[in-house]
Subunit: 419 residues, 2 copies
């Protein structure tokens, strides 16, 4: 670890202040059911940004808005090294939760406020960032503007995206007053660290307030099509049928088993399935369904696809149906940086919290940041594992614990000038 | 059997004439793909009826049209007993086949023509009937006008039915000139016999041209609803999921097994299934699907429903999902009359055809006729088991064989005056 940092390991954030700020931001776009609708580049997004800008300025940060609307608040260090970047996003889905995204931005703000409270000077600058359009609801895809500054998407591609009403991203971003300068992008960074709600039930089931994130799993999406023989449900004896849905049901069960039989982290989901002709008294002639495989290990992910192909072929042969397996999208696994994970582990230990590592099953801005700098994430327990809904919740205590992990990790990564 | 009939058992129909008539009728509403669209109470139906009326009159029959448009052609016998009624329907589905329904009406006409050719006088009258709207495509439900004259549906109920454009059945029937008199209904009858294509693959698989129909199976329709926990496909470990589709898949496989494990005639079909939210990366939260059970034995059908309820409850408990099973429609099994079946069996034997009995998995006008008089059916082999499609086909030889069975059965049921 960095010199002198251990002396500061008893420092803690102001949990009440953080939770107050989270609730104040959640008032912008608040829904009757206790959630938030604050779509990227909307009037609510503008209002949230304006509030964040005022808080950044009150904390003495230099506020920079880049050509994708990403907002950075920079706190100088004693060196010109690239900053330790902390952040997440303030946009939400429709009827989303109060903390998804906002926790990472306001947790970072609380880290800065705490450094200010104690007059702590870091060697590297500390910067906080609010990435534009992480959710990808109004303008696809998700993680759009972290992807843009890390080279995943071109500027023309992002600018030209339209919402359902045909409005262009660039025009709408300019319209809310947050189309800034390329020079204001928050990169390069010496490290990136993102605090986020887990959005899953693992920490709750394990009984831990925070989790150390090992990386973001790889995902592959597959479309399976089964073509059997549509027929009247009455006059066709069971032994002469080629029922596409009976075949699909066998494969859906097999897909679940592929994950259950593998290890504790593998997941496999059939989320979408449609039947033709979908008539009560007709044997289904055609069924299409999706398979979503996720795993931290690329080789294991590949092996799952091979197992699926074999399963589908066996079922098709046994039942006399035709089947195709089309793999149409893959996101490779993203293991986080060893040193960043080490800083988080050390912080967790210093705080006397249980050390528990899990992988993120969903994408986050940190996935793209990992392309360009050492990156990591900290998860905070989600009640009931719920997210993207109004009932999403994390307790003030868990939020405070997560922010303390972020604070101590930041001190380790930025280095402190002992005065 | 009836006196003197054995002497006539070498009588046969004119197969070429029958097949010619079938093809001539199939020219009305002919589709480019070789099928027929002749919806009930349409202009094509009117044209088909006009042709049938002319053929009936040429055969010396008294043509009667009743208050539901059912057309009867009556051939007198030597007694005033109720007639032996032979028939089926001339309406079709959209892009249906040439022989579904038409075979039973024109097969009956060919029986009358053959009796005329040989100057045969029967004791009981022989009547042929063309039931209105068996298919129930334009006006629901199916078997509408055989149901009306047998007391299943009231006249006001049938008359008030509307098609998709809001046109009333009664008005449309009057419009094509086939709204007749209640006094012209074809009932009572001493027996009812219907020749029909099988619409299934059983006779083809067995290698038999015709089948003796034991009855019409009972059918029960059930809606199963599974409510699990919708969640992100990524962050939810397999062990913590309550996946409604995984539960449904297990039940769909179990439903198939319920029929396979029972006997050779039980069938079970999940024809309709829908998933919510039906999104590739969301664990399904709700799945609804239909179950269609069919069996000749009412008690066995009831037992299948109980087994399904037990299966659903077991899966729901094991997976922590909520499930409901709603049985919403049942059509009781209809065993045909022993004497009518005996007449058909005797005819099959006299013709040297293989004797093979099967149950109808689908509904036919004979189901409702069985409520009011001794009834039976004869099936003709369907190529590929196909029906309700342009590719529906039965060979001229099989059609002739079926008509000969109808002829000899009719002689047995009507009785012949040996002169």
């Amino acid at each position: 670890m960095v010199d002198g940092v251990d002396l500061l390991m008893s420092l803690t954030v102001n949990g009440a202040r953080l939770n107050d700020s989270l609730l104040e931001l959640a008032g912008i776009g608040a829904t009757p059911g206790g959630g938030v609708t604050r779509l990227a580049v909307s009037d609510e997004d503008r209002a949230g940004r304006d509030l964040l800008r005022s808080w950044m300025e009150q904390a003495g940060l230099t506020v920079l808005v880049d050509d994708f609307g990403n907002m950075t608040g920079l706190r100088r260090g004693t060196t010109d090294e690239p900053p330790v970047l902390l952040g997440s996003h303030c946009d939400s889905v429709v009827n989303g939760g109060k903390f998804d995204g906002a926790l990472g931005v306001l947790g970072a703000l609380e880290v800065v406020r705490t450094l200010n409270d104690h007059g702590i000077v870091t060697r590297r600058p500390v910067a906080i960032v609010n990435w534009t359009n992480e959710e990808g609801v109004r303008f696809e895809p998700a993680m759009q503007c972290s992807g843009a500054v890390t080279g995943r998407f071109s500027r023309s591609e992002v600018y030209g995206r339209t919402d359902r009403r045909g409005l262009r991203f660039e025009d709408e971003l300019r319209g809310i007053g947050y189309l800034g300068e390329e020079a204001n992008r928050p990169l390069p960074a010496s490290a990136y660290l993102e605090l986020h709600i887990e959005q899953g039930p693992v920490l709750e089931a394990a009984g831990y307030p925070v989790g150390i994130v090992g990386g973001i799993v790889g995902i592959t999406w597959i479309e399976v099509t089964i073509e059997g023989q549509p027929d009247h449900a009455g006059p066709s004896p069971m032994g002469l049928r080629h029922d596409a849905l009976a075949a699909a049901a066998q494969i859906v069960s097999g897909v679940e088993r592929l994950a259950l039989d593998l290890d504790e982290v593998a997941v496999a989901t059939v989320g979408r399935l449609s039947v033709e002709p979908n008539v009560i008294n007709t044997i289904p002639g055609r069924v299409t369904f999706s398979v979503d495989f996720r795993h931290p290990d690329r080789d294991v992910l590949e092996a799952q696809v091979v197992r699926l192909e074999s399963l589908v072929a066996d079922v098709a042969t046994a039942r006399g149906v035709r089947a195709t397996v089309e793999r149409f999208w893959t996101s490779e696994p993203t293991p986080f940086d060893r040193n960043v994970i080490g800083a988080v582990e050390h912080a967790v230990a210093e705080l006397g919290l249980p050390s528990y590592t899990l992988w993120s099953g969903a994408g986050h801005d940190a996935k793209y940041l990992a392309d360009v700098c050492p990156s990591g994430m900290i998860f905070v327990r989600s009640q009931g594992g719920l997210s993207h809904c109004e009932a999403e919740h994390s307790t003030p205590e868990d939020i405070e614990a997560g922010a303390n992990v972020l604070l101590l990790s930041t001190l380790a990564l930025a280095g402190v000038e002992i005065q």
